[in-house]
């Protein structure tokens, strides 16, 4: 990995994090339910984008920069887990389980759809 790629990964990672913050806040700020839909939106969009990249055969440094750096810092596993734990604290196990199952199913579907889309390009 060259120094240029190394530095670019850091910069693009920062951009991914900012994009996540803005999309999450925009979606969550409009929602009124109990589900953390901002995190759901971020993870589904990220899964779709990563599916498209890999489906289209992007590889090497390009995949590292677009996939690992941008999408890697855009999507978030830790926030998903933290918010699920908070839902369980409030006492509604059913909605906590929904917050595990729904993003999982939606993420898988988005990744598969993205892959098919990328392959067709």
């Amino acid at each position: 990995m060259s120094v240029v790629v190394w530095l670019a990964a850091g910069a693009l990672g920062g951009i991914g994090a900012l994009l996540r913050f803005h999309l999450d806040a925009a979606v969550q700020g409009r929602a009124s339910g109990e589900l953390p839909v901002g995190t759901l939106a971020v993870n589904v969009v990220g899964s779709l984008a990563l599916g498209v990249l890999t489906g289209a055969g992007v590889a090497g440094d390009a995949l590292l920069l677009a996939g690992t750096a941008v999408i890697g810092s855009f999507t978030t596993f830790s926030t998903w887990m933290l918010e699920t734990q908070r839902l369980a604290e409030d006492g509604d196990d059913r909605i906590a389980l929904v917050n595990v199952a729904l993003p999982l199913a939606a993420g898988l579907a988005a990744a598969a759809a993205g892959w098919a889309l990328g392959a067709a390009l």
Binding site: S32, E34, P36, G38, T79, E83, Q85, L87, E89, D90
Partner: protein, 324 residues
């Protein structure tokens, strides 16, 4: 403290700054400089203000600017002298001044709200048990993140046990129970700052005990819902539903505080247990507004507390800074 006692309350936001400094730091430094008798900075878990933006610890991206409540209790001259500095520090938010009765100040109001200011290193669990035995209807322990207790600045720090941060215990019940509680309090904890306020209990566990009173001209009202973290309205957490409905109705603000220990009615005192996922702590949701808006907020509160919760209303005589 035999003369009149006042309580200054500031409702604001965690990331509010003035002149590059956090308002929360500015207020607590001010309380320390003036050696305020009891002061406390509380960090809410959910709420919104005049801008109608939701802040909540339930979603990570909405949790970086949580609602804060700063309280300062002292004699009338000390609190009045704080006002100009507070008005300089607080640019948005709400500042109120309420009149309290110092403990031992004669006849107690019926019903009464008893507030005890302590440090976390004081035996607050024993104080809650004492309040329960005295016959109060309920009590909640709220832990501060900064403030003054026993004449010293107590500030919570990251990676610290924070064993001496200030806390307050708020309790509501009959005048007789409050009198019994005050009488035995020095045997349970020395040097506590205890104050009494007039309060109206509107509802308890779904039963309507009083109608919402009309407020004297020029005053505001403070509506508070005390419930447990596990209280529900149609399967949804009551405090979450309350804030959601108040915000949907464009109320001008609401703040939810989560306690660490408490009791309600005849039930045993409760708090979180080790390794339990469901939290068992008390939760308070407060709305401070002019009487017209409190009346509309109470319609929502009344509907959601059809089964559970303790609902009280207090008169707020002085609003120094209405929401900007």
């Amino acid at each position: 403290m035999s003369e009149a006692v006042l309580k200054l309350t500031v409702y604001f936001g965690e990331s509010d700054r003035v002149g590059g400094r956090l308002v929360s730091d500015g207020l607590c430094d001010l309380f320390e400089r003036r050696e305020v008798r009891a002061a406390l900075l509380l960090r809410g878990v959910e709420g919104f203000g005049a801008k109608q933006l939701l802040h909540t610890d339930r979603f990570l991206t909405l949790s970086e600017d949580l609602p804060l409540v700063a309280l300062a209790v002292d004699d009338e001259a000390a609190i009045r002298s704080l006002a100009p500095d507070v008005e300089r520090l607080v640019r948005g938010g709400l500042v109120t001044v309420e009149r309290l009765r110092p403990a031992g100040g004669g006849e107690l109001p019926e019903p009464a709200k008893l507030t005890v200011h302590l440090g976390r290193d004081d035996p607050y669990v024993a104080v809650v048990e004492h309040l329960r035995r005295a016959g109060l209807a309920g009590a909640s322990v709220l832990l501060g993140v900064d403030g003054m207790a026993h004449g010293r600045r107590r500030r919570a720090r990251f990676l610290s046990r924070n064993e001496s941060v200030p806390l307050l215990i708020v309790s509501v019940g009959s005048a007789a129970a409050a009198a019994r509680a005050l009488e035995g309090l020095p045997d349970v904890v020395a040097d506590a700052v205890a104050t009494i306020e007039r309060v109206e209990i509107l509802k308890r566990d779904g039963a309507r005990l009083a109608e919402l009173p009309s407020a004297p001209a020029g005053t505001w009202q403070k509506l508070t819902v005390y419930a447990g973290e596990q209280a529900r309205h149609r399967r949804r957490p009551l405090h979450v539903e309350l804030v959601r409905r108040l915000r949907a109705a464009h109320a001008s603000g609401a703040t939810t505080l989560r306690g660490v220990w408490g009791f309600s009615g005849d039930h045993a005192p409760h708090g979180d247990r080790l390794l339990a996922v469901h939290r068992r702590v008390p939760v308070l949701t407060t709305v401070v507004d002019d009487p017209d808006r409190v009346r509309s907020a109470y319609r929502i509160v009344d509907e959601l507390t059809d089964e559970t919760g303790l609902v009280t209303v207090e008169t707020v005589p002085t609003v120094l800074l209405p929401r900007a």
